[in-house]
Symmetry: C2
Subunit: 555 residues, 2 copies
């Protein structure tokens, strides 16, 4: 690589990682990093919290400056420099200097595109009103912070991760907040019954959710207020609007250069992050990635994978030029691990959701719900973790997990993430040896319990009923909680036989139809399931009990 | 199993799990659970916190009562009933009823021993003084709680997990606390330089540690105070003494029955938990287990594995009697995952420590130290996690990890625990896709960073120096921090060349000896390592930087 020039376009996450890694691997090559914005390597994931004034100082968002890149890594950073075109034949890029307005060419030996994604901005009437913001850059967040000075209400368009982070942070600044979401749930990567927990939590913090609805038009009302008219006809007034509808890959440059794109519109790369041009690599939100669970290509803009991709592109470029083949790194794909804080609630997931598995044509998917405490109940302060685990009903392979609660949520998802990465089964979750002391967990950790229930199912010790079929006439639902619990609220179709009386009341149970057992969280129903199965009844378990019922019923 | 009788001896953790699991697998057999104490299924891990009044009500420690066992599981529990002997030929046990003093026989078809461990109680002069306590049972903790009423000082003998939990909880109750530990460090399962963090933290909370010392004798001083004379001659006065020296397997019954014991004195079992008698199983603290990392048999009293063992014994007993072979469960061994809270510090580990690997004869073990924040630095409140990762230098197989810090510690250890369970390498840690949002972690999570450093090492991009050799004369230590940082404190043998000036000052570096690079936590030294390696120098990295140096230097 001696004397060769590497050009990186886009200086956040993947691009910055790539440039720095390339320097560590090769001291002698020339590395140039272009960004059309004023900053490189800034903390875009922190922007909502800068708006919320949790992060007070803007400079904290600058992870590395051009000066640092130069001093420490001998990398030349050119900000406000937009690469407008690539001449693949000549191996040059055209760079427009934002300061002078002039365009110049720069030759490369290797080129990395890390152009990221841009906010989706639907062409609605009024979309360009100055009170309508998006949040992709530091200047974006600065504008919203300024607007908060005069605003007392906000409309967030989009109920995904960023939308909810924005809603929380605007509420934290004292604004009254509406969130409009086109689909039937918040946090679309989650399954709907799990997203219900998040929706309820938002409402309990005074945020109003409008689901199954989108904005049709924006109008200025008075001097400063925005009137949003929804598809339903409902109108919402607010001082500011933040668009968080999602992002799409910024492929202007890739399309100009005629690089191959995937069917979702992202750049197609191989497992070394190389594009259809052998001298051009691409990383980060601009590319399509393969989901390691479903095997399908998709767009999944995540910071962790972007960093990994940057490192792998650098390896590919430098090592291959050096002719060094030691342990070539390849990108293994993404598994969709994500986490979101919503006030004091944590929502996290890894692997595929049930709906994604369905879309991908997976058969034989089974799921369990559970609500274990984040640590033992006898130690004060235990909080429930609402979990859903998806797995293959035959092999037990773990396919995905979602968890929501006030403590210990990201920890359990991370453990299951590592299990999925290793192609582990529910039996491995059952046997996991995790940290336990009373204030940290339980001898049977939530991950173990999820694995145990699922393993019981795969082993055939437990058959799970489908919550969607609870109204079937040929089924008798039996609630095994105490009469006091039952009286406080139960499924209309359920009769009550407490678990502790079950052995004496077997004659009350129907021998000719399926019995579906329910309790508060699933444990007692499981005990009853085993009891009744061995007594010759046809029995299934309603996993997750009444706590899951209420989310499914409410959604 | 219809009509067969299963007897379980010992009703905590493994025994209780085994009995309940057996019932779930077999409704028709008879299950009898004996315990010599007044309670079954109590939360022994919670006892220190009951002493500390964190857990206020004693009844919270009773996870399940004999009544519940009867009602819910149709399991007959007999407390205050000590099984004194086994007649293996006749398949009967002799039970001494603590209420009547009489002994009767009870026949079994299958027998499970879950007799646990007993506190080590060295035969020292004065050991039986009434102010000297141990903490294995609810009555033990009740006695200490009563004693706290008149006590203002305590001596804890033993600086392991339980000893330190006791020290914290006694300090929480306002007592001044001394801890005496025979070895040169607290928390002996950890490596000494990692234990230093815990020791410093204890001291900062006013607890005095006396290492490398043991108690030679106890004497009564005045009416109520205990004078402990240490091996060194030092004398410590205190109102109460708590023994937390460790435990040994309670094998009285097993020895009487001539069951095969292992070389550490625990019962030997196969991977179905079966003893040398085909009708007798054993689980929990009374057995020897195989360490899945080192392959060696050892004693490792842990609650999680005890529960797993109980389940597996039940499976083995019931399924084999039923002639059912579906997915026979076997015990995979233990990996030593453990966690301990010490005031606001969390100490956790999984897999083997460096000293254990050495004892087991492992060659080619490499280690990295790091001190990442538990989440990104730009989000307020980031706390350092001090980590040590042990791995095979050739294959990259993860062998063990230790971590200490105020937040997010158990989460990272749990992820690495799942990695070890799956025989993962440091490359899998490098590529792990973990939960990231600013308040939850980093795009490069501490687990990723540990994996990256280790992977760099296995790939040959980075060679690690051994902290134990820093005084070698044929080595030049170069500190690459800023002059301001260097001036605040540095290794005496280190010269200072800041990383950002390195490229211009290569001529100051010796070409004829090894250069060992150090910075604050290891990152800048790594950058410098890559720079110098490619410039032809012989370079190694002092992993973990000055923060690791200070713990090694202080220990």
């Amino acid at each position: 690589m001696e004397g060769q020039r590497l050009i990186v376009v886009g200086g956040v996450a993947g691009g910055a990682s790539c440039a720095a890694r390339a320097r560590r691997l090769c001291e002698k090559c020339e590395i140039l990093l272009f960004d059309r914005g004023p900053y490189v390597s800034f903390a875009n994931c922190g922007l909502p919290y800068y708006v919320g004034n949790v992060i007070v100082e803007e400079r904290k968002l600058l992870v590395a400056t051009p000066h640092l890149f130069k001093e420490r890594f001998n990398i030349e950073v050119r900000t406000k420099s937009e690469v407008t075109a690539i001449d693949r034949e000549k191996k040059v890029v055209y760079v427009k200097d934002g300061r002078t307005g002039e365009t110049y060419t720069q030759a490369y030996d290797s080129l990395v595109l890390s152009t990221g994604a841009q906010a989706v901005r639907p062409p609605l009437p009024g979309i360009d009103l100055p009170q309508i913001f998006e949040l992709r850059t530091i200047p974006d967040s600065r504008k919203i912070r300024e607007a908060i000075g005069y605003a007392s209400s906000a409309l967030v368009v989009g109920g995904g991760f960023i939308g909810l982070e924005m809603a929380e942070n605007l509420a934290r600044r004292g604004l009254s907040v509406n969130v409009v979401e086109l689909s039937s749930q918040v946090l679309p990567p989650l399954d709907p019954e799990m997203a219900t927990f998040a929706a309820e939590h938002l409402k309990s913090h005074g945020i109003r959710l409008v689901l199954n609805n989108g904005v049709a038009r924006f109008d200025l009302e008075g001097n400063n207020r925005i009137l949003a008219t929804l598809n339903s006809g409902e109108q919402i007034q607010s001082d500011i609007v933040v668009l968080a509808i999602g992002v799409r890959p910024e492929t202007t440059l890739a399309r100009q250069a005629d690089l191959r794109l995937g069917r979702h519109g992202g750049i197609q790369v191989d497992d070394s992050m190389r594009t259809s041009d052998q001298n051009i690599w691409a990383v980060g939100d601009v590319i399509e990635v393969r989901d390691i669970v479903t095997g399908e290509w998709e767009l999944m803009p995540l910071a962790g994978p972007a960093n990994r991709q940057g490192r792998i592109a650098a390896e590919s470029i430098i090592r291959c030029h050096q002719g060094r083949e030691a342990r070539p790194q390849t990108f293994r794909g993404v598994q969709g691990t994500a986490v979101c804080g919503i006030f004091d609630l944590t929502v996290a997931m890894t692997g595929a959701s049930e709906k994604k598995l369905k879309r991908a044509g997976f058969k034989n998917v089974e799921k369990v719900y559970l609500h274990p405490g984040h640590h033992v109940a006898y130690y004060p302060g235990a909080k429930s973790i609402h979990m859903k685990l998806l797995f293959d009903a035959s092999s037990g392979r773990v396919l995905g997990a979602q968890a929501i609660g006030e403590a210990g949520v990201e920890r359990r998802i991370d453990v299951i993430s590592m299990a999925i990465q290793n192609n582990a089964t529910v039996f491995e979750l059952e046997e996991a040896e995790l940290c336990y002391a009373p204030q940290f967990g339980a001898a049977k950790d939530p991950v173990n319990v999820a694995g145990m229930i699922a393993a019981n199912c795969v082993r055939g010790d437990l058959e799970l009923a489908d919550w969607n079929d609870v109204d079937r006439a040929d089924v008798q639902v039996v609630d095994v909680r105490t009469p006091a619990e039952y009286d406080k609220g139960h499924m209309p179709q359920a009769v009550n036989i407490p678990i502790d009386e079950m052995r004496d009341r077997l004659d009350e149970l129907p021998a000719d139809k399926e019995i579906w057992l329910v309790c508060e969280v699933g444990q007692r129903a499981y005990y009853a399931t085993r009891l009744l199965l061995q007594s010759g009844f046809q029995v299934k378990n309603l996993s997750g009990g009444m706590r899951t019922y209420s989310t499914i019923h409410n959604r």
